[in-house]
C-alpha cells in the first residue's frame, strides 16, 4: 500500500509540472523541473546529514556557493597575464598564511605551558599575519590591476565544465572536513551556529576576493555542457526538425537546451539516489541510524561516533557542493551576491522536513514539491490578491500595497508549510521506514 502511495505522490508531482507546461508555458515547466532536480540533490545531501545522522547543518548555502566557485575555477580559461603578474606571489602568500597557522597550532599542541608557549603563539600569529599580508596583498593588487573591467582575476583551468561538478563536491568536502574537525565534537546547537557562521564567511570571501572569482563583479559567460540556443537556431537541420514538429525555432531551441540539462541532472540525481539508497540499507547505514537514535549506546558498542559524524558531514556537504556547481552551470554565471541564507539554507531544510527526513525518496520529493511552490506561490498569490482586492476602488493605497506585497508571500507560505507539516505530519510526505 505504502508503495502505491509513493508512486501516487511522485505522479502527482509530475502532473503538477505537466500542468504548468499546459497552462503557463513549457519553458517555465522545464525551468521548474531543472531547478527541482537540483533542489532534490541538495535535499538529498541535507537528508544524509540530518535524516541519517541527526547533524544540524545550517551552512548549506556555503557549500552550494563553493560548488559555484568550483565551476569558475575549473572551466574558465586561465588569465595568463594575471598569473605572470602576481599569481605565484598570491599563492606564496596563502602558503605563508597556512604555514604560520600550522606552526601556531603546533606550538599550542607541543610546547609546555607557560610564558614561552603564550609568547610563541602570539609571535607566531603576529609575524605570520604580517608576512602573509605583505606577500599576499602585493600579489592581489597586481592581479586585480590586469584588465579589471573584464578579468582582474586568475581565471580557471580551462577544463570542461562537467568536471566542475565533482570538483565542486571535492571543494565542499574539503571545507566540510575542516569545519567538522573543529565543530563536530560540540553540541548540536553549537554546530548549527558554527555552520551558519562558516557559510557567511565563505560568502564574504567570494564577494571580496576579486583575484579569486571577481567578487561581486561576477563571472559571466561560463562555458556550457550543452549547445547554445543561437547555434541551434542557425543550424538548418534543427530548424527543419522544429518546423516538422510545428514549433518555432526560437522556442524549440530553448526547450531543447533545457531538456539537455534536465537529462544531465537526472543522471546525476539517479546516481546519487542509488548510492544513498545503498548506503542507507548497508550495515554502515544501520550503524548511522543507531548512532542517531542513541549515541551513548552506539558508543558503548564500540562505534567511533565523532569519526562517523565527520564522515557523513563531509559526504552530505559534498553532495550540496555538486548541486551548487550544477546550479551555477545552469545559470551560466557566478553571482556571489545572489546567495541568501533563506533561499539556500533554510529552504533546503523545509524540503527535507516536508519530504520526510530519513527517507531519500522523501527528500527528493520534498525538493520538487517545495521548489514548485516556491516558484508558483507568486502567481497563485497574485491571483488571490486580485480576487481579494477586486472590490476595492482602483488606485487606493491599500490595494496597491496588497498587490505589491505578493512578492513577499513566498517566505510566509514556506514557514506556514513547514509549521503545518511539523505539527500534523512530523514524519513528512514519505516517512522513514
Amino acid at each position: 500500500m505504502a508503495q502505491y502511495r509513493n508512486i501516487f505522490l511522485f505522479a502527482a508531482m509530475a502532473l503538477l509540472i505537466l500542468l504548468t507546461g499546459f497552462l503557463q508555458s513549457w519553458n517555465s515547466a522545464l525551468l521548474i523541473l531543472n531547478m527541482g532536480l537540483i533542489s532534490a540533490i541538495m535535499s538529498l545531501g541535507v537528508n544524509l546529514q540530518w535524516g541519517f545522522a541527526g547533524l544540524f547543518n545550517v551552512g548549506v548555502m556555503g557549500f552550494v556557493a563553493l560548488g559555484g566557485l568550483a565551476t569558475v575555477l575549473i572551466s574558465m580559461p586561465p588569465v595568463t597575464e594575471a598569473w605572470s603578474a602576481g599569481g605565484l606571489r598570491t599563492l606564496l602568500g596563502l602558503v605563508i598564511g597556512v604555514a604560520s597557522l600550522w606552526l601556531t597550532s603546533l606550538a599550542i599542541a607541543r610546547l609546555p605551558s607557560g610564558k614561552a608557549k603564550i609568547l610563541g603563539i602570539i609571535a607566531g600569529l603576529i609575524v605570520g599575519f604580517f608576512a602573509f599580508r605583505f606577500v599576499f596583498d602585493g600579489g592581489v593588487s597586481a592581479i586585480e590591476a590586469v584588465n579589471p573591467a573584464s578579468t582582474g582575476y586568475l581565471g580557471g583551468l580551462g577544463l570542461p565544465i562537467l568536471l566542475a561538478w565533482p570538483a565542486g563536491g571535492l571543494l565542499a568536502a574539503g571545507v566540510a572536513w575542516i569545519i567538522g574537525k573543529t565543530a563536530l565534537g560540540l553540541r548540536s546547537d553549537y554546530l548549527a551556529i558554527a555552520t551558519l557562521g562558516i557559510a557567511e564567511i565563505i560568502l564574504a570571501i567570494m564577494k571580496n576576493e576579486d583575484w579569486l572569482a571577481r567578487g561581486v563583479k561576477n563571472v559571466i559567460g561560463l562555458p556550457r555542457p550543452v549547445p547554445f540556443e543561437v547555434d541551434l537556431q542557425n543550424n538548418p537541420d534543427f530548424v527543419a526538425t522544429a518546423s516538422d514538429l510545428g514549433m518555432n525555432a526560437v522556442t524549440a531551441s530553448s526547450i531543447y537546451v533545457k531538456l539537455c540539462y534536465a537529462g544531465l541532472f537526472t543522471v546525476v540525481l539517479l546516481l546519487l539516489l542509488w548510492m544513498a539508497q545503498n548506503a542507507l540499507r548497508s550495515p554502515w547505514g544501520r550503524m548511522m541510524r543507531a548512532i542517531r537514535d542513541n549515541e551513548t549506546s552506539a558508543e558503548a558498542m564500540g562505534k567511533d561516533v565523532t569519526k562517523r559524524h565527520l564522515q557523513i558531514f563531509v559526504l552530505g556537504s559534498a553532495i550540496c557542493g555538486i548541486a551548487g556547481a550544477m546550479m551555477t552551470t545552469l545559470d551560466g554565471q557566478l553571482t556571489p551576491a545572489g546567495y541568501q541564507p533563506l533561499r539556500y539554507t533554510f529552504l533546503i531544510w523545509v524540503m527535507v522536513i516536508v519530504g520526510g527526513s530519513g527517507n531519500n525518496f522523501g527528500a527528493v520529493l520534498g525538493g520538487f514539491v517545495i521548489w514548485f511552490f516556491w516558484v508558483q506561490v507568486e502567481p497563485i498569490g497574485g491571483f488571490l490578491m486580485q480576487a481579494i482586492t477586486s472590490g476595492m476602488e482602483d488606485g487606493s493605497p491599500l490595494k496597491q500595497h496588497l498587490i505589491s506585497s505578493v512578492a513577499h508571500m513566498r517566505l510566509f507560505t514556506m514557514g506556514l508549510i513547514l509549521l503545518l507539516v511539523l505539527r500534523f505530519s512530523p514524519k513528512g510526505l514519505i516517512p522513514e521506514k
Binding site: L342, G415, L418
Partner: protein, 336 residues
C-alpha cells in the same frame, strides 16, 4: 607624538561605536540566553522578532509624525516604543500559544524546537516584508548629535573631532536601564526568582508549586520587550532593513555562547567582547598610529587588519576559540 589627539580619534572611531554596537548585541543576546535558559532551545526567529519590533516602532513613528507629535530633541520612535513592545508581546504570545506550546506539552527535543523556530523565522520575515517592504527605512529624527565633531573641536581646540550621535548615547543609556531593570526583576521579584528556579532545575521548581506556563509566558514577554528595544535601537543607530536582522543572528548567538548560554551576565559581557573585537579588528588604525609615532614613521597603508566585510569572520573566530578552550563560555553557562 600626540597622545591626546590619538585618544580622541580612538574614542571617536572605536570606543563609542563599539559601546553602542555592544549594547545592541547585549540586548539581543539577553533575549537568546533567556529563551535558552527557560525554554531550553536556540531561537532562530529572534533576529526576525527584532525586525518585527522595529517595524512596529517605525509604523508608530510615522503615525505620530503624521499627527504632528514629536519628542523634541529625541527620536519620535522612543514615544512609539511602549506600543511596539506591547504589539510584539502580543505577537509572541500568540506564536507561543499556536506553535510552541504543542511541542512543550509533548516534551519535544530541543532540536525540534529549533526547527520549529526556523518556521517561525520564515513567517515573521514574511510578515515584516509584507508590512513594510524590503527597502531601507531611516526613521531617526530629532537632534542628530549630542556633540558634533565641530563643537568638540571648538570646545577643546584639538585637531581631532569627537562626535556622539544621539542614537549612540541613547542606545547605551537604554541598555543600562533595561539591564538594571531586568536584573532587579530576576533577583528581587517573586516571578523573577521563580524564572531562575525553573531555569536551574525544572523538576524541583515544579515540585515547589511554580506554574510552568506562567514562567514561560513571562519569559516570552520579557524576550519580546528586549527584542523590540534592541531592534528599534539598532534600526535608529544604523538603518532599518528587514534583511540585516537575519544576519545579526550570528553575532548575537556568538555573544550569547561566548558569554555562556543561559547566563544573563555572560550575554552582556559576550556582546561587548564581540562588538569590540569586530570594531578593533576591522578599524583602519592609520589615523591613530600617525598621531602616536614620529612623523617619518607614519604608515602609508590603512593599517587595517581585516576589511569590514569580514566582520562575521571575527565574531565567528572568537566563538570557535571560546568553544574549543572553554565550551561553557566565559561565564559558566548551561550545557545540556
Amino acid at each position: 607624538m600626540d597622545l591626546l589627539n590619538a585618544l580622541v580619534a580612538l574614542a571617536n572611531y572605536v570606543i563609542i561605536p563599539g559601546l553602542a554596537y555592544g549594547s545592541q548585541l547585549a540586548l539581543g543576546a539577553l533575549g537568546i540566553t533567556l529563551i535558552y535558559g527557560v525554554l531550553r532551545f536556540s531561537n532562530f526567529a529572534h533576529g526576525d522578532t527584532m525586525a518585527f519590533g522595529a517595524t512596529l516602532s517605525i509604523l508608530g513613528t510615522w503615525w505620530l509624525q503624521s499627527m504632528g507629535i514629536s519628542f523634541g530633541v529625541l527620536p519620535t520612535a522612543l514615544l512609539a516604543l511602549p506600543f511596539s513592545i506591547l504589539g510584539c508581546i502580543a505577537l509572541i504570545l500568540i506564536t507561543d500559544r499556536a506553535v510552541y506550546r504543542f511541542y512543550r506539552v509533548q516534551k519535544a527535543k530541543p532540536v525540534i524546537f529549533l526547527i520549529v523556530s526556523m518556521g517561525v523565522m520564515f513567517i515573521m520575515n514574511g510578515v515584516v516584508r509584507f508590512i513594510i517592504g524590503p527597502d531601507d527605512r531611516t526613521f531617526s529624527d530629532g537632534q542628530r548629535f549630542i556633540m558634533s565633531a565641530r563643537e568638540f573641536k571648538a570646545m577643546t581646540g584639538l585637531k581631532e573631532g569627537l562626535a556622539i550621535k544621539t542614537t549612540q548615547g541613547l542606545t547605551v543609556i537604554a541598555a543600562v536601564i533595561v539591564v538594571a531593570v531586568l536584573f532587579w526583576f530576576l533577583e528581587r521579584t517573586r516571578t523573577g526568582k521563580s524564572m531562575r528556579a525553573y531555569a536551574d532545575n525544572e523538576d524541583l521548581a515544579l515540585l515547589s508549586g511554580i506554574n510552568p506556563e506562567r514562567v514561560v509566558m513571562v519569559t516570552w514577554m520579557i524576550v519580546a520587550a528586549l527584542a523590540t528595544i534592541a531592534g528599534t535601537l539598532y534600526g535608529l543607530d544604523k538603518v532599518f532593513k528587514p534583511f540585516t536582522y537575519l544576519l545579526l543572528l550570528l553575532p548575537i548567538f556568538s555573544s550569547a555562547i561566548v558569554g555562556g548560554l543561559g547566563n544573563p551576565v555572560g550575554a552582556i559581557a559576550g556582546g561587548f567582547v564581540i562588538a569590540f573585537s569586530e570594531v578593533t579588528i576591522t578599524y583602519a588604525w592609520k589615523k591613530v598610529v600617525t598621531y602616536l609615532v614620529p612623523s617619518e614613521w607614519a604608515p602609508s597603508s590603512l593599517v587595517q587588519l581585516l576589511s569590514t566585510d569580514y566582520k562575521f569572520a571575527v565574531s565567528f573566530s572568537i566563538l570557535i576559540i571560546v568553544l574549543l578552550f572553554r565550551p561553557t563560555g566565559l561565564f559558566k553557562g548551561k550545557a545540556y
